[in-house]
Structures are given as structure tokens and as C-alpha cells.
């Protein structure tokens, strides 16, 4: 095992010289670079994933999807699909016992704002309208392309700030407005200190806008499941979900069956990055399996994974900072417009996570944040690695850099001056514990040969130096 121990020469170092009074130990297994238990299986192609379950007589699902951003459905005619050889059944909204749902209802975040299959209208390009169940994937694809749908186009809202204008077209009738409401407020708020007073006192004001676009989780294994009806009347769901019970409970609610009827088998997944927590395939596959009493497979193709599976939300972020001549930030105001798309999924939660991250790892006495979760006519966004924080960090650390460059300050010294430390109070009023921002900056400076003056080399997250 010794040859696996990371070393300075391989570019991987474990340095216990920082916080050495806190991190000594005599563990025997923990702290060792144990090889991954599943690595050999992964690299030799012998690990079993959900798709390695093969059942005789398995049916396949493909979904007929909206070709419009926002439209009334004046007619859905599945008959032409039924004429395709091999097509067994076409599921519509009427086949879904409890069609309206939202995944976070399990933790009391509502309301149900999304249909499993569209009823009288569609609100984004690619929204599922009906599901074609067939003997082969090819027949399901052909069937889905033959379903006749007539649309009556409605006005489209695609920009987050346009969506919040008073006369904007309403995207989602359940909300009745183009934003998620946080306990009576149109956005999640952070209010700490007096940000206007801070701006008035500041020597410099920096105000900038940052924008990201939707990003795909891009797992190697696409979202999918195989559902097998068992002899005892239960359904076994072989799934690549990131959360087995979350999928089980949400699926049972949509099917309107007791949870004991379902069993989820998973746990070994070919990448998730947040893309597999939305419960998109299991309910339809279960319904098809119950109606046909046959195993049913529903797997996204790559195009579905990229265009209709929830991406990382696009975010527009405005930051206004008040900064003193010596580099102390005295006020920071952030406005987030986070693009939820047509439905909520996990984005209201991500927006709260964004608010808790303001103002980054810095102690700023006056902080204000308005974090909007905005509905638009696009593919609903949802979880993705670091959502609520990743794009915020792009904005925050770009902002930190431009302040440092404008004021002629060393970029690391500027951050060290403002770094949070143990005992500080964050903008969301949680006390800072276990801080180590100063130390990672100090160690990074050492790593790249960036000279820091002694007073900054001596700084500590554990306690502030006497003034």
C-alpha cells in the first residue's frame, strides 16, 4: 500500500504542520489511502449497474415531448403511435394517479407545481406530454414521433429579469407569479447590519454584474431505471437514483400506492453530480409496469440528458461592495436571479443555499442579499454539484479580484484582510467555527512562491492578533 501514499513529487501532499495541535492522531485505518473497494470492478467493466439487469419481455418507454416553449395543448392524439408495430400502450396524464407533484414535498417544500405528464398546456421545450410503451426501444422512439399534438402558442418568458416585470406572462399557474415565495417574501432575504450606512462610509464603491448559463451534469451513465413486477404484487425498481428512499417515497405518492409496494435497488451509479435526484423516470416506468404486468425500462438518451434533464441553473448576480482605502470591505449587497425554469424541483432549496453563502468566506459588517428563485419557460433547473454556491463563488471571487486590482492591493493580502475567523458572526448569524481560510491562503502562497509580508504569514483563523 505504501506506493499509493501521496507524495510531494506526485503533486499530492498532506501537510499536518498547520493546526498541528488539533490534528494529531493514532488511527490505523482512517487517514490511510485505502484503495477504493469498487475501483477494480469499475476499470475492468465488471461492476453491475442497473442496466445489467436483464428480464425477459422487457418493454421500453420513450416520451413524446413538447416542441414549444409555452403552449396550450388543443389536441393530443396517440392513435398514430398505436399503429406502429410493437407499440403496446401510450400513457397520458390520465394514467398518472397523482399527476401533480414536487419532489421536495417530502420535506414540506411545496406546492405541487409540476405534472408528470402535461395536461392542458406545456411550459418548456421538451416537457413530457405522453409516454409510448413498446416491445423495443426503436418502436418506442418511432411511436413517440408519431403522436399528434396540436399547440396554440402562448407568450414566452425566457429572461429572469423580464419574468419579474409586473406585466410578464405567468409561467406556472400554481405559483400565479414568476417567483417562488419564501414565507411571504418574493425572495430569500439576508439582512445583517446596515448596508446603506456602510456604502455611505466607504471610500470606494464597486458594482458589477455576473452571468452564467445552464450546465449539464454529464454523468457517463444517463438517468434511467428498470421496473420489474414481482409475484407478490410489489414492484422492484432498479435505478441509478442518487437517493433511494427519496425516489421510493416520491414514486409511491405519484402512484398513490403504499410505500411497502415498492422496492428500490441501486447504490452503484455511473456519476450523478446532482442530475439524478429529480425522480424523472421511475413513476412512468412503474405505471407502465403495473398496467402491462411486464418489466419496463425507461432510460434517457444523451439528447434528453442534455436538454430535458434538469441542468445547473443559470444565475445572474449583481454585487455592490463598499470598500475602504486600506482594503477592508464594509458593506456587500448581492442580488441573485436564479433561473428555475418552468417548475421548482430543487431550485428553491438551492436559492436558500446561495443566501447562506453570502458574503463568501469574509467578515463584512453590513450585508444584504435578495435571492430570487425565478420561473421562466425553460427546462427546469435543479441540483448540480455545489448548486447555490458554485456560480456565487465565480461572482464573489471575480469581484474580489477586480477590487484588489483596482486598488492596487495584492490579491491574497486583500483576501486575508477580510477573511473570516473563529468567533466571527456570519451574515446568516451563525458563529464561525473551524475556520481555515487564512491557512489555505498562506499555504497556497507558499506553494506557488508568492511572498507574503510577515504580518500576513503570522495571521491565524483561531484568533485575531491584538491591534
Amino acid at each position: 500500500m505504501d506506493d499509493h501514499i501521496p507524495s510531494e513529487t506526485s503533486g499530492e501532499t498532506l501537510d499536518r504542520s498547520y493546526f498541528s495541535d488539533e490534528n494529531q492522531h493514532d488511527f490505523k485505518v482512517v487517514g490511510q489511502p485505502s484503495p477504493r473497494l469498487d475501483a477494480r470492478g469499475h476499470v475492468t467493466g465488471t461492476t453491475r449497474y442497473f442496466e445489467d439487469n436483464h428480464f425477459r419481455g422487457t418493454l421500453h418507454i420513450k416520451v413524446c415531448r413538447s416542441k414549444r416553449h409555452h403552449a396550450k395543448l388543443t389536441r393530443i392524439d396517440p392513435a398514430p403511435a398505436m399503429n406502429v408495430p410493437g407499440v403496446v400502450r401510450v400513457l397520458t396524464a390520465k394514467d398518472v394517479p397523482a399527476n401533480w407533484y414536487t419532489v421536495l414535498r417530502l420535506i414540506n417544500v411545496g406546492p405541487n407545481d409540476e405534472p408528470v405528464l402535461a395536461e392542458d398546456s406545456v411550459r418548456y421545450l421538451g416537457e413530457p406530454i405522453c409516454a409510448v410503451v413498446a416491445e423495443s426501444e426503436a418502436a418506442a422512439i418511432e411511436g413517440a414521433s408519431r403522436v399528434q399534438v396540436d399547440y396554440e402558442d402562448l407568450p414566452v418568458v425566457l429572461d429572469v429579469e423580464e419574468a419579474l416585470k409586473p406585466d410578464a406572462q405567468i409561467v406556472n399557474p400554481v405559483h400565479g407569479k414568476n417567483y417562488f415565495e419564501y414565507e411571504g417574501h418574493p425572495f430569500r432575504r439576508i439582512r445583517f447590519g446596515d448596508v446603506e450606512k456602510g456604502f455611505a462610509e466607504a471610500d470606494h464603491i464597486f458594482e458589477h454584474r455576473y452571468q452564467s448559463r445552464p450546465i449539464e451534469q454529464a454523468p457517463v451513465e444517463t438517468t434511467g431505471c428498470i421496473v420489474k413486477p414481482e409475484g407478490d404484487g410489489r414492484l422492484t425498481i432498479y435505478s441509478d437514483t442518487q437517493a433511494c428512499f427519496f425516489t421510493l417515497d416520491n414514486t409511491a405518492l405519484i402512484l398513490d400506492v403504499p410505500t411497502a409496494k415498492l422496492r428500490v435497488v441501486g447504490g452503484t451509479v455511473g456519476g450523478g453530480f446532482g442530475g439524478k435526484v429529480d425522480v424523472m423516470v421511475e413513476p412512468l416506468a412503474c405505471i407502465a409496469a403495473m398496467l402491462t404486468n411486464r418489466p419496463v425500462k425507461f432510460v434517457y438518451d444523451r439528447a434528453e440528458e442534455m436538454q430535458v434533464s434538469s441542468p445547473r441553473a443559470a444565475e445572474r448576480i449583481y454585487i455592490k461592495d463598499g470598500v475602504m482605502k486600506d482594503g477592508r470591505i464594509v458593506a456587500r449587497k448581492m442580488t441573485f436571479y436564479i433561473d428555475s425554469g418552468a417548475y421548482s424541483r430543487h431550485t428553491p432549496y438551492g436559492v436558500t443555499k446561495a443566501s447562506a453563502h453570502v458574503p463568501g468566506p469574509y467578515s463584512i459588517p453590513n450585508v444584504w442579499a435578495d435571492c430570487h428563485c425565478v420561473y421562466t419557460n425553460r427546462t427546469p433547473s435543479s441540483a448540480m454539484r455545489g448548486f447555490g454556491v458554485t456560480i456565487g463563488d465565480f461572482a464573489l471571487e471575480s469581484q474580489m479580484d477586480r477590487i484588489a486590482k483596482t486598488l492596487g492591493l495584492d490579491p491574497l493580502i486583500f483576501r486575508l484582510k477580510n477573511a473570516y475567523r473563529d468567533g466571527d458572526t456570519k451574515a446568516h448569524r451563525k458563529k464561525v467555527e473551524g475556520a481555515a481560510l487564512i491557512e489555505v491562503i498562506q499555504r497556497a502562497a507558499e506553494l506557488v512562491g508568492h511572498d507574503l509580508p510577515e504580518e500576513y504569514r503570522k495571521m491565524s483563523s483561531v484568533k485575531r492578533e491584538a491591534k
Binding site: 501521496p6 499530492e12 501537510d15 499536518r16 504542520s17 490534528n23 490505523k28 485505518v29 482512517v30 487517514g31 489511502p33 484503495p35 477504493r36 425566457l158 411571504g184 432575504r189 439576508i190 439582512r191 445583517f192 458589477h208 455576473y210 452571468q211 445552464p214 450546465i215 449539464e216 454529464a218 437517493a243 433511494c244 427519496f246 428500490v264 435497488v265 441501486g266 447504490g267 452503484t268 451509479v269 450523478g272 453530480f273 439528447a303 442534455m306 432549496y349 436558500t352 443566501s355 447562506a356 454539484r385 455545489g386 454556491v389 458554485t390 463563488d393 465565480f394 471571487e397 474580489m400 446568516h428 451563525k430 473551524g434 475556520a435 481555515a436 491562503i441 497556497a444 506557488v448 508568492h450
Partner: protein, 338 residues
């Protein structure tokens, strides 16, 4: 036309877990008759390595080599509840649950051993190689296999344990946003070197160096792997990826990896990582977690390196060659006006 070289920095923090509705995970541990320990979970391994971390936590507590621990994940008929794999919660929540379950099993294991050895259980310890031994003695010991056999076939006891970690629900204050959403904060500082071609707008990431603090590194090799993988994702977010290149317009959305750009082997630089440890009291052996954060700091560090190289400040992601060239034009105009 020239290539410009620059260096950019970014420093970030990242929360362990994100609690809005109560955040529990459970673990069950039991011994087979021959002293192999099975850890049963419903947690999901996406490739991040939760199975390995669970095995290490159980082996450490039980005093066994990690090879003597099996991890069974993700069957809702047999595995106890886990919220799922997200929010950098796995190592922290599942690790804590496994430790609690393993401690309960260890207690029974030592009681069974004490009866076999005719000593007090309080005087026993494990040696980490699969033996229970009398403290201070090298001779008086019994193998964990013999303990398990005795439990099953002589003493009629089950060597097992139940573990649970839960962070209770916390409600944000609607007016001020006061809340307790996380269990810890990890930290990172990333330094990136780039070159920017001012004729093509092309950015090349030449070197990416990071320092991370994530509490205890339970498995340093896997920590470094996360840092390297996250660095690649960060580069990809910074320079290449989007499903909607003309956002807010939805046209030209990519539908395959041939039109959804991601960095290839020639676009990923050498990644250097240093890990420092500040163990956290509420974490498993002091671990905080590193699942998600490793993609974050590379993005602004690259944006800042581009500015350092050529004066182009790009405020939009991804930082395509077109955006670099437009930002260069804007910088030149500002310079002329000044």
C-alpha cells in the same frame, strides 16, 4: 498578436450538508459467524467512494483491517434510511452513522471476548489487525474470528450495532435569513496559470495548484482524486460547458458530446494539491467533506488569470474565445477613452 501569460487566485469556503428538512442517515453493522463485519446502508456510491469511507470508519472502530469489512448499499428492503448522496453530506452523515453502529457492535464484541478470556471487558482493546487483546499484554489475546464464532455458537449473542446521524430541521428567519443550514465549512485556495491568445481568444490552462482544508482527510488518496476531478470540472465550467450557448435564447442546444464541449486530455493541466487538516468535532474522526466544492475555486481563478494575462474581464460563463475577444476590445476602448 501575442500570447499573454497570467496568474489568478480564488479562495472559497463550502458547507457540509444543507439542512432544510432534517437530514438523517442510518447504518446497521453486524458480524458474520467468522468475524467479517457487514455494514448495511441505503446510501449511494456515485463514484465518489462512500463505500470505501464507510468500510474505513467501521474498520477503525472495530479494530479490523479494512478487508474484513463488507459494505452493502442501497436496497430499500434491507438498508436503513439514508437521505441520499448530495450536498457533500455522505462522508459526514454516513460516516457518523457507521461509527455509532460500529461502536455498539464493538461493545458486544468486547463483552463476548471478555467472557471467552475470563477477564473484564473494560480491560480489553483491539490491535487493528483483527485481535482483541488484554491491555498491556502481548500474549493474552483472541482473534475476532474466534470471538464471532463464540458469539454465534456458544454464547448465543448477536454482534451488531445501530447507527444514526441526524441534523434536525432548521427554519430560516424570513426577515433576516438567520439560519443554521450546515454542519461545517471546508476551505480552498486555488492558483491558476493561463495563457491567452489575443488573436483567437483561446485560453490554455497551464497549471492548477490548490490547497484544501476539509477537516480530517479520512482517505487522502480519494481526497486528492476529488480535487483533481473537480479541477477538471471547474476548467470545463469556466471555459467550455453550457446546454444553452445563446442563453436566454434556447437555440443551438447541444445534444451529444460532439457538440457539448468539455476539456479533453490536452486541455487539462497538471493539478497540484496540498491538503491541510483542521478536524471538526461533529464530523466522523473530524472529517468535514469535499464532495462538491472542488469544481468551485478553479472557475474564478481562471477568470482572474485571464484578466491578469491580458486585461480582459469576462463576467459571463463560459468564457469562450468570443467573450475573451469582446472583453479585450472593451478593455482597449476603455484605455483609449482614458
Amino acid at each position: 498578436m501575442a500570447k499573454h501569460f497570467g496568474r489568478g487566485f480564488a479562495a472559497v469556503n463550502y458547507p457540509t450538508g444543507m439542512n432544510l428538512g432534517g437530514d438523517p442517515s442510518q447504518a446497521l453493522v453486524h458480524a458474520t459467524p467468522t468475524g467479517v463485519f457487514s455494514v448495511v446502508l441505503s446510501s449511494v456510491d456515485l463514484g465518489q467512494g462512500i463505500k470505501t469511507i464507510a468500510a474505513q470508519c467501521a474498520a477503525e472502530v472495530l479494530g479490523l483491517p479494512v478487508e474484513n469489512v463488507l459494505v452493502d448499499t442501497a436496497d430499500t428492503d434491507t438498508g436503513p434510511h439514508c437521505m441520499g448522496t448530495f450536498a457533500s453530506r455522505g462522508t459526514h452523515r454516513v460516516g457518523n452513522a457507521v461509527i455509532m453502529a460500529a461502536r455498539e457492535a464493538r461493545e458486544v464484541m468486547l463483552e463476548v471476548a471478555a467472557e471467552e478470556m475470563e477477564v473484564d471487558a473494560a480491560d480489553l482493546e483491539t490491535d487493528g489487525t483483527g485481535f482483541v487483546k488484554l491491555k498491556g499484554s502481548e500474549e493474552k489475546k483472541i482473534s475476532i474470528m474466534d470471538v464471532a464464532l463464540a458469539a454465534h455458537f456458544k454464547q448465543g449473542r448477536t454482534i451488531s450495532g445501530r447507527g444514526m446521524f441526524m441534523k434536525p430541521r432548521n427554519y430560516p428567519d424570513p426577515e433576516t435569513g438567520a439560519m443554521d443550514p450546515d454542519s461545517a465549512q471546508s476551505h480552498a485556495c486555488t492558483v491558476v496559470d493561463v495563457s491567452v491568445d489575443d488573436e483567437t481568444g483561446e485560453v490554455e490552462v497551464l497549471k492548477l495548484q490548490s490547497v484544501y482544508e476539509l477537516g480530517r482527510a479520512l482517505n487522502p488518496a480519494m481526497v486528492h482524486q476529488q480535487i483533481t476531478g473537480g479541477a477538471w470540472m471547474g476548467i470545463s465550467h469556466a471555459l467550455y460547458e453550457t446546454t444553452e450557448p445563446y442563453y436566454p435564447d434556447r437555440s443551438h442546444g447541444p445534444v451529444s458530446f460532439s457538440d457539448y464541449l468539455m476539456p479533453g486530455p490536452s486541455d487539462t493541466p497538471p493539478v497540484t494539491s496540498v491538503v491541510i487538516e483542521r478536524p471538526v468535532a461533529n464530523g466522523p474522526f473530524g472529517g468535514k467533506g469535499i464532495g462538491e466544492m472542488t469544481a468551485n475555486s478553479p472557475i474564478p481563478a481562471i477568470a482572474n488569470a485571464i484578466f491578469d494575462a491580458c486585461g480582459a474581464r469576462v463576467e459571463e460563463l463560459p468564457i469562450t474565445p468570443e467573450r475573451v475577444l469582446r472583453a479585450l476590445d472593451a478593455a482597449r476602448e476603455t484605455a483609449v477613452e482614458a
